[in-house]
Each structure stands twice: as structure tokens, then as C-alpha cells.
Subunit: 223 residues, 2 copies
Amino acid sequence: MKGDRTRQSILYRAVDLASTDGLEGLTIGRLADDLKMSKSGLFAHFGSKEELQLATIKAAKQRFIDEVFRPALNVERGYPRLMAICKSWIDYVRRGVFPGGCFFAAASFEFDGRSGPVRDVIGTAMDEWIDALEKAVQMAKDEGHLDSRVDPAQLAFELNSLFFGANFACQLRNDPRSLDRAEKAIETRLESVRTRRAGGSPAVPPPARRRPSRRSRAGEPPA
Amino acid sequence: MKGDRTRQSILYRAVDLASTDGLEGLTIGRLADDLKMSKSGLFAHFGSKEELQLATIKAAKQRFIDEVFRPALNVERGYPRLMAICKSWIDYVRRGVFPGGCFFAAASFEFDGRSGPVRDVIGTAMDEWIDALEKAVQMAKDEGHLDSRVDPAQLAFELNSLFFGANFACQLRNDPRSLDRAEKAIETRLESVRTRRAGGSPAVPPPARRRPSRRSRAGEPPA
DNA sequence: GCAGTAAACGAACGTTCGTGCTATTTTGCC
DNA sequence: GGCAAAATAGCACGAACGTTCGTTTACTGC
């Protein structure tokens, strides 16, 4: 069917537009103009704006999975995969997979105060994402790569926070260094709960500092 | 002037509305209905929607300063004040100062992909906020409360990320525990770079763990 | 208490929104 | 190559948007 191809191309553009202007700012008329289609022709594919929004979220989710999540699943499970997911996320903003930054960060903050199906779908998508993060942490624990006292929900929360913080600083403040900051923060945080059994690059032994009994987490690289 | 009082009450409601529906979702007609005013009467106070948005941001900023920032300035400078700012922020979401969660988190993610005066004003406001955080960190360093290797920009970035992450989880996922998680993460993070000279509750001495050379940052409380 | 100003109103503007219809074109199949 | 079906276009609609207008009501200073 040709309609499917058209639908795909509509949604591709819709995702891009929504990532910058929001799902509410996404307008059928502008989207149609942008694609050199008639409003009614485009509209017929979805039947309502809400359906368009839901389909747009679905398409964005697919793009996210393809670009961020699935590639990281090729990495060996445990600590390496957890780190790969984080790096993949950073890189996904760096590459500009969505022109307006992270689609889901934008959608989350746009709809967090509302109600209805759109909000619910976004909520579910984010639940799944956080769950995936928690599972990755749990896996790393199961493999013996992370300190057994680590709380997956807590760590997943912190990692996701850094993602959002990086997206914010990168998009609004035009500060691409924030991606490096997020990367550094994640590395330090994960390193702090890593065990010797973790694979990948070997954990550096705790360096001899002036007060070696207190583990340093200072932001500056050691001089 | 009576007009000033009216303007105040308009903006009070506008801030609340914008925190849930966004600054674009904030509509003159609905705002007027909500306040039992005529659209034109309300409109006359601002002259354009953009002016209304700018005034709304200004009012929200004032509320934020009153509720979050200024109270923390009463605390003694250095580590205690830095911690007070963080706790104050958490508490400001917990108290529901804005019905839609943090106004500025919402506004930041709404406008980060756009251009124009509104985006610029939001950007400036957030710059000032991050600057204030950095200054608080720097002050704590100056007082000798924080490890001298701490990079204020890095730490401020991480703290702000946790704020946004907490707001997100609290608003979209209806998970108030995320506020506790943010609090815990902040305490652990600040603790990790705190010196013995810091005031407030005394820093706990590093407990004798199985591997005492590596500082634990596991999420779970020690059993 | 009256004049002059400030504030609020109601109606209407042009535009855009989402959403129905009805043609018309295009596509895929026998 | 003709034909049903699918896809798209054209047009119109009611509602809501931001905005402007002329008018009326409410204050305030003399």
C-alpha cells in the first residue's frame, strides 16, 4: 500500500516537528504544508489530532529504540551494557536524532500536568524506559559487576536525571559541554559502585590521595 | 491604582495555569473566563500575548525567589547554605508551589527548541539560577567546606539535573518517592566532596567496610 | 460634585485550529 | 486495460485564537 509509505513519511516529519514545537504545537495544517499535502488528505490517515499525537509518540519511540536502546543490547550484559546504554543516550542527543533534543524529555514536561490518553501513553513509555534502566542495573548486579547494596530504582533515577539535565543545558543554554558533564558524572557515579569483577576497561585502583580514607568525587580531573 | 492589583491577580493565576498547560497553552480567553473578566479587559493590561507571557515568567521568577532562594540565604554561607538551597528546592516541589510542578522546568523544555524573546527570557532566568548554584558551590569551597578540586559548574549541573529528574518523576509518574531519591542523591553527592571543616551536622567518618579503600555510594542505607 | 483619567466591557475582526463532507485522482489487481 | 478500492484534494463548518475598536463604568483629584 502506498498509504503506509505516506503515513511513515508524515510521522517522520511529525516527530521532528513535535520535538521542537511540542505535541500540542504540532498542527495538522502546518504539517500538511510542510509535506506539500492537503490538510484533509493528511488528516484522513489519522482521523483525529489525538490519534496523530499517539501515532507520533509511537514513531518517536521506535526511533528511540532503534537509535539508543537496541544498539546497546549488543554489548555484553552487566556493567558494560549499562554503560553502553548511558553513552548511547548521550550520543543520541549529540547526534541530534531529534532536532529539538530528546523527544521524550520534551513530551514528558509538556504533558506532565495534563490528563488523557496522550499523557498516559507518554507516562507508560517513560515507565518502560526507567524500567529498562533499572533492569540494566539489576543485571549488572546479578553479574556481580555492581555493589550488591545498589538500589536499582535509585541509580536509574539518578542516571535519567542526568540525561534530562544534559538535554536541558544542551538545548536551552546551547552548552554542548553539558553532554561531557553528564558523561563524566555518569562515569564517576557508576565507577563508585563498580566491583572488581566488572568487565570492560579495568576499574582504576583508588589513587593515593592526601586523605586516602575518603573517596574523592571532585569534578576536576586529577592534576 | 486598582489596575496594579488586578494585574497582580491576573499574573498569579497565569503562573498557575502556565505551570500546568505551558506558556503557549496559556490562553487569554480561558484566563479571562477563569478570572471572570472580559478578554479585552485582561488583554489591555499587556497589549499582546507575548507581553503576557513575559510578565508571567517574571511573576513566576519572583515566586521562585521568594519561596526557594531567599529563605536559603538566611542559612550560614558555605556548605550549610548550599544544602539549604537544595532542600529548599525539593521542598518547593513537595509543597506544590506551582500546581504543575516546577514552572521553570516546564518552561525550559517547552521553549528550548524555539526562538524569540520568550525563549531568551527563560534562558536568562535559567542562566541566573545555574549561576546562583555555582556561586553557592564556590562559596562553600571558599569557606573550605568542599574539596578544592570540585568544579562548580560540574556540581551545579548535577544538582540541577537531580532537581529536574525529581520534578519529572514526581509530576508525570506520580512518584513522590523521587523527591526522597533526589534528596538522598544530593546528600550523598555533597557528602562525597565535603571536608571536615564544613559546618552543620558533622560529616560521618568513613565507616569500616569490607573494602574500606573504596568509598561506597550504594543507594541503600547501610544495614 | 464634577471633570478627567483609568479600567473594564462587549462586539467584531481576520486567522487558524480540528473536523466533517464530497469529488477526483492514483494505485494495485484480474 | 478496465475497475474497484484506496488515497488525496477541495471546500466548508464551527469554535477558538490573538487583537482592535468604540463605549461604558469606576475611580481620583480638584
